[in-house]
């Protein structure tokens, strides 16, 4: 399949992800609130969201935010929590390889779980425009940074998104990727392996290890299965 990268693709990426950006915004508010609670300054919290832009790892290091800061532990925790994105990047090989290096480097700064899944699902439906990843990621980034800024500023006065079931919005968004990514019964065994591996890892290993354990186990099984 061919690869394109257009401004229209950036815009389409934004229009495909705005509903997720809403729940990301509430999560960012929560991150801002807890960042304030552990003594991070407003500027530090906002810069962290802008530079790191990875929710789970930011929450993970907030637990470690004390004086003096354990830099090595912070770096290793970040690596552990975010290592799943190595797999996501690898899966983009065929689509992004034809692009210019700086386009690729800029695009991947904006890779998150949700816009990766969205972009891959679109690709499976025949999408050529790789700018979907960057456009959607830019909107997520903007709402993420804004949310952190607001959360830290208002502190504990933040609202409760649970009543509106915003906690279900993100899993629901992943659920709609299932159909486009499902290619047939041959995937039953890899998917079952991924599910079992992820549930076990989630029960016994902290952080986001479940994604990388389940993702590696399931994809390796998929790779080992010969085409019939």
């Amino acid at each position: 399949m061919e690869t394109t990268f257009t401004t229209a693709g950036l815009r389409r990426g934004i229009s495909l992800i705005w509903h997720v950006a809403i729940s990301g915004f509430f999560f960012a508010i929560a991150v801002g609130v807890v960042a304030r609670d552990v003594g991070m300054s407003w500027l530090e919290a906002v810069v962290m969201s802008g530079v790191v832009f990875a929710g789970a790892s930011q929450v993970a290091i907030i637990d470690l935010w004390q004086s003096p800061l354990p830099l090595l532990v912070i770096a290793l925790t970040t690596l552990g929590v975010n290592s799943r994105m190595l797999l996501m990047g690898a899966s983009m090989r065929e689509w992004f390889r034809p692009l210019k290096r700086r386009t690729v480097w800029a695009s991947f700064f904006f890779l998150t779980d949700i816009n990766w899944a969205m972009a891959i699902a679109e690709r499976r439906k025949g999408e050529t425009d790789a700018a979907l990843l960057m456009g959607s990621g830019m909107l997520l980034w903007a709402t993420w940074v804004t949310g952190t800024a607001i959360g830290h500023a208002v502190g504990g006065a933040a609202l409760d998104p649970k009543a509106l079931a915003f906690d279900v919005l993100v899993p629901a968004f992943f659920v709609i990727m299932i159909k486009p990514i499902w290619t047939g019964r041959k995937q039953l065994l890899p998917w079952a392996t991924a599910a079992a591996g992820a549930i076990l890892a989630d029960a016994f290993i902290p952080g986001n290890a479940h994604v990388i354990v389940g993702g590696i186990a399931g994809s390796l099984v998929g790779g080992l299965l010969r085409d019939r």
């Binding site: 300054s41 407003w42 500027l43 530090e44 810069v47 962290m48 530079v51 790191v52 832009f53 790892s57 930011q58 290091i61 800061l69 830099l71 912070i74 970040t78 190595l86 797999l87 990047g89 690898a90 899966s91 090989r93 690729v104 991947f108 700064f109 499976r124 830290h152 500023a153 009543a163 509106l164 079931a165 906690d167 279900v168 919005l169 629901a172 992943f174 659920v175 990727m177 299932i178 990514i181 290619t183 995937q187 890899p190 998917w191 991924a194 599910a195 992820a198 549930i199 989630d202 354990v213 389940g214 993702g215 186990a217 399931g218 994809s219 390796l220 998929g222 790779g223 080992l224 085409d227």
Partner: protein
């Protein structure tokens, strides 16, 4: 809004800056590294099958523990979304109805 709200803490500790830049560098490495590493991995056969199996496996690995751990009402909401998506409904409608079902369930029960 109180004046307290506007008094944003603009201080920036040097160690905090180092920690944040370190986190940013490590995270960016995980975003880009997987893609770059594939340059050294040969094409075809096992590698192609493995790469094409990654999206499904990662998607399932993200969702499985959530589905395992949430309550029956949340699971029902996700099933609504899955069913709507499977019959070809607009994905926004599928997400909104699944989420709304959970919100309604929480309000009623």
């Amino acid at each position: 809004m109180t004046a307290d709200f506007l008094a944003l803490d603009m201080s920036f500790d040097t160690t905090a800056l180092i920690a944040i830049l370190l986190m940013g560098a490590v995270t960016y490495f995980t975003r880009l590294g997987g893609f770059l590493m594939m340059r050294w991995i040969p094409e075809g056969g096992f590698v192609s099958r493995w790469l094409s199996a990654i999206p499904g496996a990662v998607l399932v690995a993200i969702l499985a523990p959530t589905v395992w751990n949430i309550g029956w009402m949340e699971r029902a909401g996700l099933l609504v979304t899955l069913a709507l998506s499977a019959i070809g409904a607009n994905s926004l409608i599928a997400v909104v109805l699944g989420t709304a079902a959970v919100a309604a369930g929480r309000a009623l029960l």
